[in-house]
Assembly symmetry: C2
Homo-oligomer: 573 residues x 2
Amino acid sequence: MSAIPQDFVRKTAQVSEAITRPFPGSRKIHVTGSRPDIRVPMREITLAPTRMGTGSEDNPAITVYDTSGPYSDPEVKIDLLQGLPSVRGAWIEERGDTEALSGPSSRYGQARAEDPELAHLRFAHIRAPRRARPGRNITQMHYARRGIITPEMEFVAIRENCRLQEMREDPRYAALLRQHPGQPLGANIPDLITPEFVRDEVAAGRAVIPANINHPELEPMIIGRNFRVKINTNIGNSSLTSSIEEEVEKLVWSCRWGGDTLMDLSTGKHIHETREWVLRNSPVPIGTVPIYQALEKVDGKAEALTWELFRDTLIEQAEQGVDYFTIHAGVLLRYVPLTADRLTGIVSRGGSIMAKWCLAHHQENFLYTHFREICEIMQAYDVAFSLGDGLRPGSLADANDAAQFAELETLGELTKVAWEHDVQVMIEGPGHVPLHKVKENVDKELVDCFEAPFYTLGPLVTDIAPAYDHITSGIGAANIGWYGTAMLCYVTPKEHLGLPNKADVRDGIITYRIAAHAADLAKGFPGAQVRDNALSKARFEFRWEDQFNLSLDPERARDFHDETLPKEAHKVA
Amino acid sequence: MSAIPQDFVRKTAQVSEAITRPFPGSRKIHVTGSRPDIRVPMREITLAPTRMGTGSEDNPAITVYDTSGPYSDPEVKIDLLQGLPSVRGAWIEERGDTEALSGPSSRYGQARAEDPELAHLRFAHIRAPRRARPGRNITQMHYARRGIITPEMEFVAIRENCRLQEMREDPRYAALLRQHPGQPLGANIPDLITPEFVRDEVAAGRAVIPANINHPELEPMIIGRNFRVKINTNIGNSSLTSSIEEEVEKLVWSCRWGGDTLMDLSTGKHIHETREWVLRNSPVPIGTVPIYQALEKVDGKAEALTWELFRDTLIEQAEQGVDYFTIHAGVLLRYVPLTADRLTGIVSRGGSIMAKWCLAHHQENFLYTHFREICEIMQAYDVAFSLGDGLRPGSLADANDAAQFAELETLGELTKVAWEHDVQVMIEGPGHVPLHKVKENVDKELVDCFEAPFYTLGPLVTDIAPAYDHITSGIGAANIGWYGTAMLCYVTPKEHLGLPNKADVRDGIITYRIAAHAADLAKGFPGAQVRDNALSKARFEFRWEDQFNLSLDPERARDFHDETLPKEAHKVA
């Protein structure tokens, strides 16, 4: 019997209807791959016919990429207490290179599992964690390099295409498929994404499939310059126990509007338990910054951090199923003085924690000195690195400076080490950068880090618009995505000012979906313009409902229309 | 005695306190030029000192460009019934090359002035219109070409600099003046804007000072690639008489948030009277699309338009004081078939009116065939051209196509004709353009139109986000501004969906101020980074009040902060 109190159950079992109701005019579909258990979710938007004089002409349905997971699937009964169904469990097991453990191997994980005071908060159906069998390497990069196309790779290939080949073979789509040739600036995007292409990109380190073996609920996705540009969102609870259900609600909300991955930046007493709830209910990869939790374990005293404590935290989180870790291993002792003359010093939280530790001990960053051991842990669960930019600029003034670029070079050195272990790597980037200095960041990252996927926060192209930093950064994000960044970390209107509420999260996500899509169009990603064309055609023909339904935010488009032109008649003019 | 009814007076005499109250921490200042009546308005933001251990260090005040006019000046008593004080009246009179007419010379203007039924709507203090004396040319371009630096030119030079030279001479600003060298992409921005530089740019046609001699209330500003990037906003009434005061309120609202110019796109029965109220109370240049009013005069029947009617409308509006006219003279008969295969045809309202006229008569566009006569009218009042892009793309699919670029080449041909008359010219641009095709628009405009200032609508870089088109277009606007566009026409969240309310206007303006500023930074406009640096320093030092006050929207920054961290103590940490 569950120890979770009834009121918690009542609040938690269901997410609100507002965040699970199907999108208007849409239905969930699944495209099946080479085996029946490769079922790739997409959303199909049905359109009204075009009225023409006496008759009418059909408008074929439009398929769009779908991050919303089972939550938008009326066939799936959502029960947060049970967690999502497993997508990848069989694929992981059949590879035969992992084993189920009897329980958590981290000391912290064990202690939390045994603490009776946490029973009321604990997710009830915790699976035994899995780990690579001794001597085996189980990362997607490892398989790719051995020439193996995993179901995960096939899944993402199908997902990236969004039924492009079917459209090409159907003459009704001919006009909609017209697209401007892109300006890929060095990206090599094929005419169609094949599983073999995915394998090759993962093998080369140019793309990452974040997919911890302990997160089988995840619907695989890929992050790489030759794929659709992705966006990450952040959530983070305050320290109140009551907020577990709020965090899960935020997760579902983020997936609904288009977050491709999600970072759980929670702090406070119940990080471990919150994370379990989030992972078990997340269809998207989850990232964390393990040093945040390690710091909580030493009551916020950076100088008290140790490698052993950090190591235990990595294992704890890896066994829960976190898909990628931000690790600030590039903040070297000798780089800290380079920030002395900055206008805004070190603004990355992870960066300042590690700088403080280095200065307090006058020793090299233990994340750097223990990097190979970190790789061995990541390898055993297939956790991807997101090498943190602890010295990123916190203002335009500090953009592209010596500290930032010195760290980037070290991240390149670490990338090579990770790749020796076949561990997948992304590289984090800034931050605050004036528009004309944005490209230099990508160009340098591609060289210094050997084309490992770049994952940037914005960047904000001006510092003077707090309350509008989703926009200041969305401008930078569209550009940096075009230039070659693989994933854009969103920024909400509350950036620099406070904690985002649901409205802020939605504004941030839509802004970043715009930026990512603008980048896809600029790079010439095949089929990217279909939705633009279909919506523009609907607009030109006054098919209002289709215009709403094809838009990134159908609800708001409709509301705005109805504010001044509320008559039903106006919508089907 | 005024014939305006008392309730109208009561509603109209004052604009609401919300749109006139001074910005927090700010005071209105005026920088005096070479003569006492050149008083250039700016806003000075006072900052708190930085607390340092035992003592503190002063932070010098920051001066920002100020479009808000006398409305934010506590020294000025606003009375909308009187209109704003004259800024330029003496300058115009002392040149001795214009004369006051006895009344309006347009037939329409005469009829409206004499119609007793309009008495209750009519602005009471209508000045006699002025016009160039016979044989005289009174445009800013004409003076510039003759080597004359007008007070208007000196005014804009002082305004562009925002006290930069004073900051350079004051060591307290040394750190704040640090700025990344720009990437001007062919712009030639001097280290300091001098009156002589302004004259030279206006003479060359690279910059425009829209300043009709019948709009002496205007505070001169300049539009050109080698100056700060400007933004335009649009207002437009519905056809209800009660909305005159609403339009004036929208005008003041637009100026408050940073609109540099404003287009009055009003339709309906009282366009003429509304325009008078707007002009008499506007500190910023006003633009119109005269063909809209001409069309009203023929009850919306495009084919019924005539050159004589249009000519009368131009004179009517020029004598009221409109500063620039959008004229769709580049929509040639032979270009119309080029739009046949477009996804979204002709979406410009002016463009489709003229295309319809051309097709109905199978004759060349009368705006093109009568272009020299139009120049003569513009010249007599110093109205600037904004040569309309009637064939601009209405969707990504139609961007940069043959129709669009054919028209652009014709606009270049017309630019030369206008310049033969010393009439100032801007060139309008799109619209909807994918990110990687934006630059081609600027590059082509600069060549085809001989560097006449480019004035673009957005462009939107994707079509899939109605309700967020301020953002889709803000991305394009920042880029096109960087590439060389001189003025950005704003887009609100209601674009494509309905009429913007005040909240939408504010969102649109702030988004475009962000875009314009991002472009200034990218081009390396001298001193542009001072405000970013000051705000970032305040942020790093937790001087919350300064952070709010330095931001583009202090009210919203404060509100967002207070939502989650409402304690006063947090603001002065």
